[in-house]
Symmetry: C2
Subunit: 357 residues, 2 copies
């Protein structure tokens, strides 16, 4: 199969495969291994301080000379009341008590963190910058473009894709409802379920509506998903869960094992962990907190309130009180080294292309 | 492309395409046109009386000598209280008053209707019988198999597919979350959203878990969706919305026009029309009735209570008070004759196969 297309040319990669920027779970080894195999590795920098991001970029650069990306969360508005926080702290008390944890202070620094991250990307000449949760302001886009950074946006609907194209993104990821982790949705005025569009529906409708390359995401785990996405009109794919269980991923062992033992019906979309909708494996914490669904403080408040609980649970091997992001295809997850995973993907693609023709 | 596979051999069709059994919207012309073009037309008999079904089968037989199918609703349990009906009747009063309609009497005859339909299928030697909402009892399956009827089940999860295979179905339809109309889900103990699995995720996981042919459904509207489904491991596709807006479909004009003018974000999954979850275009009735979400009587009670309201609305050109079933790809819907639609699908498939190789 010829992988040469607009997307691989723009990203300067051999294969049209992006490793999703899974905030909190990427390691320099993961990112560099993916890039070294000819796909695009991405640092999931959504939660990173400037220092941490600089360190990560330098570590990746020490491990690869190939292009890689940084994935950032675009800051949004977060209206919340002290009362909301007070209620949530009361509901979270049993978890904190069990782990002997302090009540954290809410500290919103997203805006500054984002600006610092952009400066980092430019300073270290990171080849690709990916965005989720929205589109950055014009001045930031201009600055990045002047520095020759390739910009990749995220869209969960056709309208969001059109906005991304209009704003000057070079590429847009079509995030189907199957996708694990945070939903990138940012346009308001839709019922929650109305922006959960399946990949099979989203990709062709998006491809028909914009001119920049579309990258399919959601449910794609092997060569079948990759070739199917290309057939639907995408120029490439973004894969998260498939890389999350890889040997080089920074995800906790309990997270990897839980995904490897899950079924397609085990995931739910919930905002109880971070204050933003995300798809992950259903567990005790989700079931308990869904009672307060309408009263969950927005991101990043809820994220900060639950942070130490989730981290402690994960490091204690407790899969019931931590977030375990996963798409709807956990039955297809494998525990492999990135090299092996990539080799298998390419082999599957070549075999499929032979069969289809 | 070679269309010859296990599925086309079992169904005795040229193309691996099934026209979904859209209860209330198929016509003998639609079914026969699809079958005459080498795919499998299906009579949507879910709501039909024995007399109506006999008439439809005879009409189809007069128009084609090719194989066709009948799609039936498998009866389930429907616990409801007179109080629930009373409440619903109160909430529906404004709609009935607007159209000058009587309050209907609830009359549950599903079981008998189903048994009669099975007898019809056998008596008229209908080649294929498709089921949704569950799996028929063993004695019915045995009777149909003795009459050489090919059996097609519906599954929204891998577990439901395994149950279908175990029960002796010859083929199973993988109904992805994108699909329009009623959800075929029948296994309990899942949160509603947990059985909404995107087609991209559902198909390969189902294919890996069973041995009978899998037919992909949900979001498939053109050659791209068909080839993508085959790449994912399906042996064919089932398409509903794509045929619903066809010239020969029995859907009301207001239904067709609304779908043709809708976006991917316009649909919701709701039980307010029939008492069972179904995907359709969001409208006034849905918004108003969603308030009573937990208090909607089960199918077929709610279906009977709203029936005359929906029919009158549709025939008055009122798209706000009737169900407009649609999958998540209405942007890809077209108003064509079946002949034209089928010719275009085959042309698109051939072109895509050339490109992929």
């Amino acid at each position: 199969m010829r992988y040469d297309n607009q997307l691989t040319q723009i990203l300067k990669v051999q294969y049209p495969i992006i490793q999703a920027g899974m905030a909190g779970s990427t390691t320099p080894e993961l990112v560099a291994s993916v890039s070294n195999k000819g796909a695009l590795g991405t640092i999931g920098a959504g939660y990173m301080s400037q220092e941490k991001l600089e360190e990560e970029i330098q570590s990746v650069k020490a491990l690869t000379t190939k292009p890689f990306g940084v994935n950032l969360f675009v800051p949004g508005h977060n209206d919340y009341s002290p009362q909301q926080v007070e209620h949530m702290n009361a509901w979270l008390k049993p978890y904190r008590r069990a782990f002997d944890l302090e009540e954290p202070t809410v500290n919103i620094t997203e805006e500054q963190q984002f600006v610092n991250a952009i400066d980092c990307v430019i300073k270290y000449q990171v080849p690709v910058c990916c965005f989720t949760f929205g589109i950055p302001e014009r001045n930031i886009i201009t600055k990045l473009k002047q520095a020759n950074v390739i910009l990749v946006g995220t869209a969960t609907t056709v309208e969001e894709a059109i906005e991304n194209e209009r704003a000057g993104m070079d590429v847009v990821v079509a995030q189907g409802s199957e996708a694990g982790g945070h939903r990138g949705s940012f346009l308001p005025n839709l019922q929650h379920q109305q922006s959960l569009i399946g990949t099979m529906s989203l990709v062709p409708q998006m491809v028909d509506s914009i001119s920049i390359p579309v990258v399919a995401a959601g449910g794609i785990m092997d060569g079948r998903g990759i070739v199917a996405s290309l057939v639907l009109g995408a120029q490439g794919v973004q894969m998260g869960t498939a890389f999350l269980t890889a040997e080089e991923s920074g995800a906790n062992d309990v997270v990897k094992q839980t995904i490897l033992n899950s079924k397609e019906t085990d995931t739910v979309v919930t905002n109880v962990f971070s204050g933003k909708s995300a798809r992950g494996i259903n567990n005790e914490f989700v079931e308990a907190m869904m009672k307060y669904e309408g009263d969950i403080p927005p991101y990043p408040v809820q994220n900060q309130l639950t942070n130490t609980i989730r981290k402690t649970a994960a490091s204690n091997g407790n899969k019931e009180w931590t977030h375990i992001w996963s798409g709807q295809s956990p039955r297809l997850a494998t525990a492999q080294h990135v090299d092996q995973l990539m080799d298998n993907l390419v082999k599957q693609i070549e075999e499929l292309v032979r069969i289809v023709g």
